[in-house]
Amino acid sequence: MSDKKKELKPNTYKFDTLSLHAGYQPHKNAGSRQVPIYQTTSYLFDDVDHAAALFNLERGGHIYSRISNPTVGVLEERVASLEGGTAALATSSGMSAIFLTVMTLCEAGDHLVVSSQLYGGTVNLFRLTLPKFGIKCTFVKPRDTEGFKKAIQKNTKGIFGELVGNPGNEIMNMPEIAKIAHDAGIPLMVDATYQTPYLCKPFEHGADIVIHSLTKWMAGHGSSMAGILVEGGKFDWMQNDKFPTMTKPYEGYHGLSFAEEFGPTAFTMKARAEGMRDFGPCLSPQNAWNVLQGIETLSVRMKKHCSNAEEMVKYLSNHESVAWVSHPSVPDHPDHELAKKLLPNGRGSMIAFGIKGGKDAGVAFINNVKLASHLANVGDTRTLVIHPASGTHSQMDEATLKFAGLSHDMIRLSVGIEDIDDIKNDFEIGFRAARKPRLVSNQ
């Protein structure tokens, strides 16, 4: 018998187990194995004292489904656990999660440094809508790490970016940009929708707030809108005087200081207590449940998404109708090495490629594929395509398109988990149609 002592190891649940179980205990819900859908607006109070305690954050619990809901709560805990975060707050969409994050962080007169390569809706929020609230932004190209540092002003309250930019696949050097943010005493907020926590956990690379559109890969089925903000819990809101609404007594809750009382969950507590109360972008329990069904198979789906994407990269790279392919798995992608470090489990399933023949060819391709769906979404289990210059980013002028790294020949491809041969066969139909106008014009 060996006298060698067994090394102590923590037995906390791993990723695939958390995807199925985190945030829920059946024995507290009538033994229901599946998470129940609490389709209710409000919750009974035991007595007046209990009601007052809930309203005053003296006790945990639910009051009104705009603020919190038990089904939504399971989703929030599940995503927080998968990200390695302390807390999460689910919202009605990814855009509302971004808006709520900014409004929890900033006041009129504040400034943000923002990556220039973002989803078109996000660009418009930062460029056009937030200035109406007195919040100004400076845009910096995602690879210009030093540019983020230079753009920080006295009133800058945070840095925001998409880890892998939409749609050009430029990757933010998250560890370096996090250091720049932290040296300035401000948090780094990262939209990691494209990656999901299966491919990257931004908190491990210095992010402080992670945002997802759960509508995309996290849900996968393309049936439900949802968003979430997740808090890392490391950022010290009390290190300087930049965040008085986090650190000073808050009139809206009898002089509560969120940072003092809630520490590593302070941001989420404030976002819920103030943001959900005042703005109300709540997630419906049905949609929360739908997203939970998707998350149960997240790692299984992401593996197939990534393997299909790498097959498509090879196929497109060798295709006569394709001018260029952008995906972090391509060795000559400028961020190939950074992607290996930040995305060790796979480089994601978003591909941008240029079609020979420019805009007309792009339109013909999109109009003729049959299996791939032409729509304004990404991260569905089905393969999706769009021509950004005429779709998702169509509200941008020429200069903004160029600054965002978009060209008229670009097709955005979100690779699904269908049989890879069927996707390739469908693309052949599209490419044949795309070549046709040129053949005609050459005659």
Partner: protein, 272 residues
């Protein structure tokens, strides 16, 4: 609020209410390597119901300055000093885990000052696993990971936080890593391991005492908590099923309900 004890600045959460010397005082003492934030689901209630609620950060922990105290006895004297520093003559004490050793020792040393004692996940002695102690003293984050694993019951591991959206284990991990591990958890674990006077101290306690224990507590199992309680005259015991060592968060509502009844009965609030 901040005040000074022995020349060092102390932070204590007042549960969101200004400190009022007219109100009776409850002091909450956290466990090894943790901070005042573990008490958030108890302190605010008492603060809004006729008490001064002080959830202290022990020296060198959380937002308090100074170095961590090296023995349970020093911590017990420090709690007594806190009562003096805020201008009170007496207090009700609430402790969790290591905080139970501290409050038991304090109550035995200062019987006239302490009016009630509430123990959560307590024991008369908390001998440390040698490997865990070594990891903590060597600043290894694995010590925190192990503590979070052992300290949480089903609610911690699966989830189901009483505050919607919060995830137990990661929140606890961040609290325990908020200062240098060897200076907080390492020093605290050594203090627990060295402390041998718990059972003798318990025999001297005469004030009303409550022990809240949990069936899935691996750090201070129910039988150890019962053994301690059996040495305190008239001690009440409440046992929570399917709950781990972090009962003050895992079953915060149940804990608050039991605590509220016990403290308001034995140490009434200032009526408004």
């Amino acid at each position: 609020m901040k005040f000074k004890v022995n020349g060092h600045e102390v932070f204590a959460s007042t549960g969101g209410r200004p400190f009022d010397k007219k109100k009776p005082l409850i002091i909450f003492v956290h466990g090894s390597g943790l901070t005042h934030m573990t008490w958030v689901l108890q302190t605010r209630y008492f603060a809004f119901h006729g008490y001064n609620s002080l959830a202290v950060d022990l020296p060198g922990h959380g937002l308090s300055s100074g170095e961590s105290l090296k023995s349970i006895e020093e911590m017990a004297d420090w709690v007594s000093d806190v009562i003096d520093a805020v201008g009170h003559k007496e207090a009700s004490l609430v402790g969790h885990s290591q905080g139970c050793l501290v409050t038991v020792e304090c109550t035995s040393r200062y019987p006239n000052k302490i009016k009630t004692l509430s123990l959560m996940g307590g024991a008369g002695a908390i001998p440390m696993n040698a490997e865990l102690l070594s990891l903590a003293e060597n600043n290894d984050p694995k010590a925190v990971d192990l503590m979070m694993d052992w300290a949480h019951g089903p609610a911690g591991h699966f989830g189901g936080h009483p505050v919607p959206g919060l995830y137990h284990i990661n929140t606890g991990t961040m609290l325990a890593k908020s200062r240098t591990i060897q200076n907080t958890l390492g020093v605290d674990f050594r203090a627990c391991d060295n402390y041998k006077n718990g059972f003798e101290a318990a025999k001297k306690i005469k004030c009303p005492t409550l022990s809240i224990l949990a069936t899935d507590d691996k750090m201070c199992p129910v039988k150890e908590g019962k053994k301690l309680a059996s040495l305190i005259d008239g001690s009440q015991v409440d046992i929570i099923d399917n709950c781990g060592h972090m009962m003050l968060l895992e079953e915060a509502d149940r804990v608050l309900t039991v605590l509220k009844k016990f403290i308001t009965t034995n140490y009434p609030p200032l009526s408004s």
